[in-house]
Amino acid sequence: MTSSQGTSPRGAPSTGEPSARRTAMATLANATIADLEARLAAHPLPQEHTIIRQPEIGLVMVRGRAGGTGAPFNLCEATVTRCVVALPDGTTGFGQCLGRDKHKALLCAALDAYWQQEPLQEAIESEILAPLRNIETKRKEQTKAEVAATKVDFFTMVRGE
């Protein structure tokens, strides 16, 4: 897995297929290991995958943009763990998430592989990804509601009166 120096397209990809897969990957990357394991305990995956790239910890240089929208610059590195698995039919699954949790990267890779199997995709979407999205949405809504309660309206005092 290598990354090109800023030559890749900005934002989400245009083709439909990777976009659904990307959404699934985002849900997995944002889930806590505890939530992920809880869902997998309730809905176990087949165990047909083999690891073709062992979970590995490394760095990604995170970029920002000058002024928020201008030219990119290097902000800081972040730890990332990645892993690749393969199914007997040759399908490969990629797992990658911020942090140093090798087990989580492996679970993400396996889920990415099985998600690409037509018969399994629906079950993974409804039994694993939907509940994880639910948890994520609830967490975000809670944050937004708490922050909204600190919304402030300042009154400007007129000078010299």
Binding site: M1, T2, S3, S4, Q5, G6, S8, P9, R10, G11, A12, P13, P18, R22, M25, A26, A29, N30, G58, L59, V60, M61, V62, R63, G64, R65, A66, G67, G68, T69, G70, A71, P72, F73, N74, L75, C76, E77, A78, T79, V80, F94, Q96, C97, L98, G99, R100, K140, T143, K144, A145, E146, V147, A148, A149, T150, K151, V152, D153, F154
Partner: protein
């Protein structure tokens, strides 16, 4: 100059045992856990992540614990650790407009679209010590209030609001083929582009940048700043993976961003408009991003056709001295044995003194002879 020394192994070993004992402190008290630190000392964690230039809260906690709370020592430990890891690549630039916002304020617009959200802030506290935190069995904090909110996919930045009228300087783009500078890969050279300056400032020492930013406010390179917008929250980080052909989400990262807006009366190079300084750091670091954006703006004097008169505008001075790991290395190396060097200095001073006294005596003697003759 430092000259290598040998020996002292036993004393060094024993000193490190003492250090380990002192680091742990009274063993009848429970040891700090990393989870306690990431949860309860997050602003220390943030500073170590920003200046260590490595986003990993657990590693920052470990470094702070090992360094006995010395944040610069902890930053040093993170910088050393990162060199042991492979680099997978460069992320897509994060988009702070899509942030899950936990705080967002503007000192320039009372009624900005999306609202002013105070979030978790020390602002408006009275800075009185809270002794209930010192008491055993600290009470659980009150449950935060909640309020209905408008769903917003994208919260526009304040700097976009004036864009239409041309009153606000647009963000500078660089040519498509410009390779983003990376000072972890190539040594610093001057003049440096804004990409390298921003990277340098993002990992620069907060105290140093605060002092420089403060100096610009006090008149050393005045920039007339307003805090256009400060925001804190989580953004998605993604990495383009060639095997997959799309940028893969890696998870969310906490960042703090500051847009400083500066009055600018115009120059031969640019019309009167509001110009901008930018600050961005990993974690929660409001003071740091504000100072960073003040210094970023000051360093842009050449591009805007201003006169350079002050330390905060001196790119080489600022960028060469902002790094506290480099600074610590050079200052603290003075502790190491300089015996040979000092012996040489001692001989030199002895010789100079002998010459000085000899010359002085001769002159005094001559003066005395002259006086006697008269």
């Amino acid at each position: 100059m430092y000259v290598a020394v040998k020996g002292g192994e036993k004393a060094i070993r024993n000193a490190h045992t003492l250090l380990a004992r002192d680091r742990r402190g009274d063993t009848s008290l429970p040891a700090l856990t990393l989870a306690q630190m990431t949860q309860q000392l997050y602003l220390s964690i943030s500073r170590v992540m920003a200046e260590g230039s490595l986003y990993d809260a657990d590693l920052a906690a470990l470094a702070i614990k090992q360094a006995r709370g010395d944040l610069i020592e902890a930053i040093f430990l993170l910088r050393a650790y990162r060199t042991t890891l492979p680099r997978f690549g460069y992320s897509q630039p994060i988009d702070t407009a899509t942030m899950l916002i936990r705080r967002r304020i503007s000192a320039t617009y009372k009624d900005l679209p999306g609202g002013q959200l105070l979030g978790p802030t020390f602002d408006y506290t009275q800075r009185l010590l809270d002794f209930t935190l010192a008491a055993n069995g600290e009470e659980a904090p009150a449950t935060p209030q909640t309020q209905a909110f408008e769903a917003q996919e994208r919260v526009p930045r304040v700097t976009e609001l004036l864009d239409d009228e041309g009153l606000m300087e647009p963000d500078a783009e660089l040519p498509e083929d410009h390779e983003v500078g990376d000072l972890t890969r190539e040594p610093l050279e001057f003049p440096a582009g804004r990409d390298l300056r921003l990277q340098n400032l993002a990992r620069g020492d907060e105290g140093f940048l605060l002092a420089l930013g403060y100096s610009t406010q006090r008149g050393y390179g005045r920039t007339h700043p307003f805090a256009g917008e400060i925001r804190l929250g989580e953004v998605e980080v993604s990495l383009f993976v060639e095997e997959l052909g799309f940028d893969v989400p890696l998870g969310e990262m906490t960042v703090t961003e500051c847009q400083m807006i500066n009055q600018f009366a115009g120059s031969a190079k640019a019309p009167p408009q509001f110009t901008r300084g930018y600050g961005l750091v990993p974690g929660q670091g409001e003071r740091k991003v504000m100072a960073m954006s003040l210094v970023d703006r000051s360093l842009r004097w050449q591009e805007l056709g201003e006169e350079a008169t002050s330390p905060a505008q001196d790119e080489e001075f600022v960028m060469s001295h902002s790094d506290n790991v480099q600074g610590t290395g050079f200052v603290e190396h003075l502790k190491l044995p300089h015996y040979v060097d000092f012996q040489a200095e001692l001989d030199l001073i002895r010789r100079l003194r002998a010459e000085w006294f000899e010359k002085n005596q001769k002159t005094t003697g001559e003066t005395a002879d002259l006086e006697a003759a008269q």
